[in-house]
């Protein structure tokens, strides 16, 4: 078992570190800094930290104004609020003018600390995929989160960074590099291709190990940048197996699976099955039980993979 690290903590440490290197970085919070770990930046740079209270829309707008005068604002709130709640402020005040604001959503997916559907974010990727000019990044672990903070700060334009709340397996070591817009092949195999993002990449890797034991060797493609999608990376990862399963902690409508299916249907039409949330609102509960009930464990990926490979094996033969 890999050791565990929380992405939000890795984020907070990386942002504070970035603050030392880049004096133009400022941070804005809407009364969640201890949860989003913006607190680590606030402690070191109180003069560059702005507490706006429970007012996410105003936070987004102030960030836009700061960006017009050359600052690199990071704004943070739960992923559900960092997407739907401020969608129009991001669209009009940030994305349309292409302002250099970084939107951080650290409680994405279902794992939001027993808070239930109001605080879960299963629509954030879909929301941001449909807004032009917004780049969407969802790292797989704490190591990649740290790298992503530096990369998005150097990347001109609006970025949405999707993070997971709780400690999760670390899959990358210090040799890993991260580039916005690139997908990463983590495992090679011809039987099927697992394409995953964010916190589900460790799950996809776990499933790939189990499938290998059954004789099904899977390619695993990790897609930390959901938009712009590394279309070439996706096509090449699917070329040998011609059998694709996407894995994400998000609604299957509008998320990674949809993006992959859209790209492949035009470039390399192959069957794509989407493991994700089946267009339902979930509920409160402990992480493990939520992942189990909503079909997001490695076992669910393995079962889907077996079915999908069997169903399409004749076509491919």
């Amino acid at each position: 078992m890999n050791h565990l690290q929380s992405m939000r903590v890795a984020f907070g440490e990386a942002l504070a570190e970035l603050g030392h290197r880049n004096p133009d970085v400022v941070a804005l919070d809407a009364d969640l800094a201890p949860a989003t770990k913006f607190s680590l930046f606030a402690e070191e740079f109180p003069e560059r930290f702005f507490q706006v209270g429970v007012a996410e829309q105003n936070m987004a707008g102030i960030a836009a104004g700061l960006a017009t005068v050359g600052f690199v604002p990071f704004i943070g709130t739960f992923a559900c609020f960092a997407s739907c709640r401020i969608a129009d402020q991001v669209r009009t005040s940030i994305a349309q003018p292409g302002l250099n604001v970084k939107i951080i959503g650290p409680y994405s997916g279902l794992l939001t600390g027993n808070t239930g559907k109001t605080h879960q974010a299963i629509e954030d990727i879909a929301t941001y995929r449909s807004i032009p000019n917004v780049t969407i990044v969802a790292p797989a672990d704490g190591v990649e989160t740290s790298l992503a903070v530096d990369a998005i700060a150097d990347y001109a334009g609006p970025v949405y960074l999707r993070l997971t709340r709780d400690p999760a397996p670390v899959i990358f070591d210090d040799t890993h590099t991260f580039e916005v817009g690139r997908a990463y092949r983590l495992r090679e195999g011809d039987a099927l291709t697992l394409i995953s993002t964010g916190s589900m990449t460790p799950t996809a890797l776990e499933a790939a190990v189990a499938l290998a034991q059954e004789g099904l060797e899977a390619t695993v493609l990790h897609v930390p940048t959901i938009k712009p999608l590394d279309v070439n990376g996706v096509v090449e990862a699917a070329r040998a197996s011609r059998c694709v399963i996407t894995v994400e902690e998000h609604n299957i409508y509008g998320g990674l699976g949809a993006a992959v299916a859209e790209a492949l249907s035009e470039q390399l039409p192959v069957p794509v099955y989407r493991v994700g949330i089946k267009d339902v609102f979930a509920e409160s509960g402990p992480n493990a039980l939520l992942l189990e009930k909503y079909g997001l464990t490695a076992r669910h990926v393995v079962e889907a993979a077996r079915r999908w490979v069997t169903r399409w094996s004749e076509t491919r033969a």
């Binding site: 829309q57 104004g65 960006a67």
Partner: protein, 282 residues
């Protein structure tokens, strides 16, 4: 501020010619927001031709004063003023609202030189102005940020989120101007939302310095906005009492002219009104 009467006359004449261009542009486009454009015109003229510290030859000058037209639908007079100052050639004005134009139906800082912030979705400009004012403080610059709001726009919740935070941050380099023309798209502001007006007490309760003026009286505009700029410790809001459709007889106080184009006959009448009165009707 000492008022130079000759300068007042020049600004008034300037505002009248801006109004004439505005109605021409909206007639030419077949669409636009004449009512709120004409109520805002005198203030925009005074800001750009007298009050703001700007350099049209250097539109990206970091220490320039900022202007955010939060009621972005009233952009035609701003476009005319920017063209008059040389931010872009005047022949662009008649392309307003046309495909491929640098002059969009709502302000777009990526297309129009001189626009400090893109706006259009009501309620968002004050927050952007706060970001600019915080930026001035962080940079140690003394530029001033002006944000123009509509009175109907005050119904947006984000305005009051922004109002709270501007006072918290003590942003005395920020002045909000509420173009209080008393009409919104559907009806009178007091009918749509009776508790909206008067807004002065609300701003005061949110921690702002509150001033009032006649938004068509050039002397008052110059005096009061100068007072706002000099105020120390809190942001200032100026409640500007205005007339929607100011200067055009059939538009004044008429809710129908929130958003529509002018027929050629209406344009002729509008220009005749402006020529006769100089825009200085009741």
């Amino acid at each position: 501020m000492e008022i130079d009467e000759k300068e007042v006359k020049l600004l008034e004449a300037r505002a009248n010619s801006v109004r004439q261009q505005v109605v021409r542009m909206i007639a030419n486009a077949g669409a636009g927001h004449p009512g709120g454009s004409l109520s805002a015109t005198d203030m925009i003229v005074c800001l750009y031709f007298k009050l703001m510290n700007i350099d049209p030859a250097n539109p990206d000058w970091p220490d320039r004063d900022r202007f955010v037209l939060s009621k972005g639908h009233a952009c035609p007079p701003l476009y005319v003023v920017l063209a008059e100052l040389g931010y872009f050639p005047k022949d662009h004005l008649m392309t307003f609202d046309h495909v491929d134009s640098i002059l969009q139906g709502h302000p777009d800082m990526t297309k129009t030189p001189g626009i400090d912030m893109s706006t259009g979705s009501l309620g968002q400009g004050l927050s952007a102005g706060i970001g600019m004012a915080l930026g001035a403080r962080l940079r140690g610059s003394d530029y001033h940020t002006y944000v123009m709001l509509g009175d109907g726009e005050l119904q947006e919740g984000q305005i009051w989120e922004a109002a709270m935070s501007a006072a918290k941050f003590g942003l005395d380099s920020l002045t909000a101007i509420v173009d209080t023309n008393c009409l919104q798209l559907v009806d009178e502001v007091k009918v749509i939302m009776p508790s909206c007006e008067p807004s002065g007490g609300k701003w005061r309760a949110f921690g702002w310095n509150v001033l009032e003026m006649n938004g068509h009286d050039t002397r008052q505009i110059l005096t009061v906005l100068d007072q706002a700029r000099r105020h120390i410790g809190t942001p200032t809001v100026v409640i500007a009492h205005t007339v929607k459709g100011k200067g055009v007889s059939f538009m004044e106080h008429n809710v129908a002219w929130h958003s529509r184009g002018l027929t050629p006959e209406e344009l002729t009448q509008a220009l005749r009104d402006l020529n006769e009165t100089g825009g200085l009707t009741s």
